[in-house]
Amino acid sequence: MGRTLAEKVWDDHVVRRADGEPDLLYIDLHLLHEVTSPQAFDGLRLSGRKVRRTDLTLATEDHNTPTLDIDKPIADPVSRAQLETLRRNCAEFGVRLHSLGDVEQGVVHVVGPQLGLTQPGTTVVCGDSHTSTHGAFGALAFGIGTSQVEHVLATQTLPLSPFRTMAITVEGELPADVTAKDLILAIIARIGTGGGQGYVIEYRGSAIRALSMEARMTICNMSIEAGARAGMIAPDETTFEYLRGRPHAPEGAEWDAAVEYWKTLRTDDDAVFDHEVFIDAAELAPFVTWGTNPGQGAPLSASVPDPASFDDASDRLAAQNALEYMDLTPGQPLREVRVDTVFVGSCTNGRIEDLRSAASVLKGRRVADGVRMLVVPGSVRVALQAVDEGLDRVFTEAGAEWRHAGCSMCLGMNPDQLSPGERSASTSNRNFEGRQGKGGRTHLVSPQVAAATAVRGRLSSPSDLDATTTVEV
C-alpha cells in the first residue's frame, strides 16, 4: 500500500525503531525564541551537555520585543531579562541569534521560511505551537515543550509516538473575497478544536494547490487550533519557485538533487488516510469568530448563535461562557459588532501578502474615528519590503500605526495589549479569554476583513464598504 506525504517524511527521519517504543526521529531544523528556551539551556548546563548541532539551530527574538522605540532599552525589566538570557545562552552555546535591531529579526515562523531554511521533506521543531506553519512546504513541523527543546538541543532527535493521518480536501475555486484565513477558520469551526487531535492533517485539492506559499502558511499555521499535531501541503512548483534563490536554499547541482527528492514528496495514489474531510471552496465566505476558542466561528453574514442551538451539553456551556465573556447577544448580526482595535500581524497573517491585502482595502480610506489600528510586520524583511512598496504610507495615511516587527498583540507579552473590555478584530490565531490582554475580547479575521473593519468600525468585509468612502489617490 502507498504512503501519505506525512508518512514519507516521517520514515525518512527514523533513527531508531523498536517494538513497543516511540520512534526516534531526527530533527533537521530547530528554531528557538526567548520564551520557551531558558529552562532548556539551564538543563543542558546542569547536565554538562552541549548543543549537538548548532548548524541546525537558529534563534530569534520575537515574543517579548517592543514594536515602538526599539532603539531604546526595553522598558519592562522582566522582558529585558528574558531577552538578555537568550543572548547569553546563544553566545555560550554557539547558537546563531537574530536579535532586536538585526535585519533578519522577526517572528520565528516568518524568519525560517524567508531565509529558505524551511524546506520540503524536513523535520522542523520549535518550542512554539505555531511551528505547524512550516508544513506549508511539505515539512513535518510541530510545536514542542521546553523539555523537548532541551532534548533536541542535546541530541538533535526526539522520541515520538506515531500519528494518524487526515486529509482535508478543498476542491473548486475560492470566491473572490475569500482568503486562506477564512478557509482555515471555516475548517476549524467544522472539525472543532479537538477534531485534529492525534492527526497530521494534509491539505489538498485544487483550491489548496492554487494558493500562494504565504496563504499556505496561514492554513498550516492554524492546524494547531484544530488540535492537530501538524499540517502539511505537498510541495509543488509554487514551493520550488518560492525557495529558489533564498539565502539558505540549495544551489546548482544541490538544487537539482533537492528538487528531484522534493518531487517524490506527495501522497501516493493508493495511500489511505485514517480520516477524510471534503470541502467545497465555492461555498465559503468571509469568516469570523464570535467566541473564545478558534472553533467558535461563523460566516460574517451570520448572527451570534444561540447557545441553546448546540446539541452537545459541553458546547452549549462553552457558548454560554463565551457570549458572556465577549458581551454578545444571541441573534446579534456579526456585521453590527463594533470594535475598538484592529490588529494586523502575527505568524498567521504578518507576511507581505497579508500587508498588501490589508493595504489594498485601506488605500484612500480612513480608519474610523475611535478605532485604533496596529500594523505589525512579521519580520524586519517584511517591513523593509512593505516600505519599498509604499504600504507603510498607505497605513499611516489611513490613520493606522505602523510598528516594528514581532509577535506583538497576538499574545500581548510586550506592551501591545487590549485593556479590559476592549474588543479587537485581529488577524492572529487565538481568541482565548485574555489572550490579547486581561479582559480583552478578540474576533479572529482575515487581513481584508481587518482593514474593512477598521474603516467601518464594525466587523466588515471589503464588500461592505460604501464606494463613497473611497477617495481616488
Partner: protein, 202 residues
C-alpha cells in the same frame, strides 16, 4: 523527572471544556526563566472570582484536577504543566487532552489520565457532593478509584502505553536514554543529504 507510581488526594471539579494553556498560565507569566514560582499564575484570571472552584475552602490542598474535554489546548508552553505542579496538582483527569500539553505533562511526571466523559461526569458528581472523597490515581494498576462516604467505590481503568508508563514509574530521563543511541544518531547523520539546510557553516 520525579517518578509517579500512585497518588491519593482530594479532587477539584473544573466543569469547563477547551481550557487552553493561556487560561492555565497567562502569557505575562512566561517571562520567568525558571521552572518554579508559577503557582500564583495558575488560572489567574478565573481565580479573581471568589466563586471559582479553586477558591472554595473545601478545595484547598486538593491534588487531582478533574477537567472538561480538550484540556490544555493552544500554546505549547510547558509553563502550564509547571504551574499545575507548582500549585500542588499531581494528576489531571479529562476525556481528551491536547497533544502537546499531554506530552509535556508526561515528561514532567504530572499524570494525565484519559477517561470517558461519562466517567468524568461521575467523578464530578462525586467530588461535588462529597469534597472530602479520596481519589486514587494508580499508575501501577492503570486505574482511578474514588471512594464515597457510604463506601461505594467508583473504579475506572485507563490506558497508557507501556513505554510512557515505564518511564513515569521509574522517573527516567529521556535525554540520557537517547544519548545511549549515539552511534545510531551519528550513523543517521552520515546519510543525510548534503542539500539539507544549515543555519551556519561549521
Amino acid at each position: 523527572m520525579e517518578a509517579f507510581t500512585t497518588h491519593t488526594g482530594r479532587a477539584v471539579p473544573l466543569r469547563r471544556s477547551n481550557v487552553d494553556t493561556d487560561q492555565i498560565i497567562p502569557a505575562h507569566w512566561l517571562k520567568k526563566v525558571t521552572r518554579t514560582g508559577f503557582e500564583d499564575g495558575l488560572f489567574e484570571a478565573w481565580r479573581k472570582d471568589p466563586e471559582f472552584v479553586l477558591n472554595q475552602p473545601e478545595r484547598q490542598g486538593a491534588t487531582v484536577l478533574v477537567a472538561g474535554p480538550d484540556f490544555g489546548t493552544g500554546s505549547s508552553r510547558e509553563h502550564a504543566v509547571w504551574a499545575l505542579q507548582n500549585y500542588g496538582f499531581k494528576a489531571v483527569i479529562s476525556s481528551r487532552f491536547a497533544d502537546i500539553f499531554r506530552g509535556n505533562s508526561l515528561k514532567n511526571g504530572l499524570l494525565t489520565v484519559i477517561l470517558p466523559q461519562e466517567t468524568v461526569d461521575g467523578l464530578w458528581e462525586l467530588t461535588e457532593s462529597e469534597p472530602d472523597a479520596r481519589f486514587t490515581v494508580d499508575l501501577v494498576e492503570r486505574q482511578v478509584r474514588a471512594v464515597a462516604a457510604d463506601g461505594t467505590e467508583l473504579v475506572a481503568d485507563f490506558e497508557l502505553d507501556d513505554n510512557a508508563r515505564t518511564r513515569l514509574l521509574q522517573g527516567l530521563d529521556d535525554i540520557s536514554l537517547t544519548l545511549r543511541e549515539e552511534e545510531l544518531i551519528a550513523a543517521y547523520e552520515a546519510t543525510r543529504a548534503s542539500f539539507k539546510p544549515r543555519t551556519l557553516t561549521v
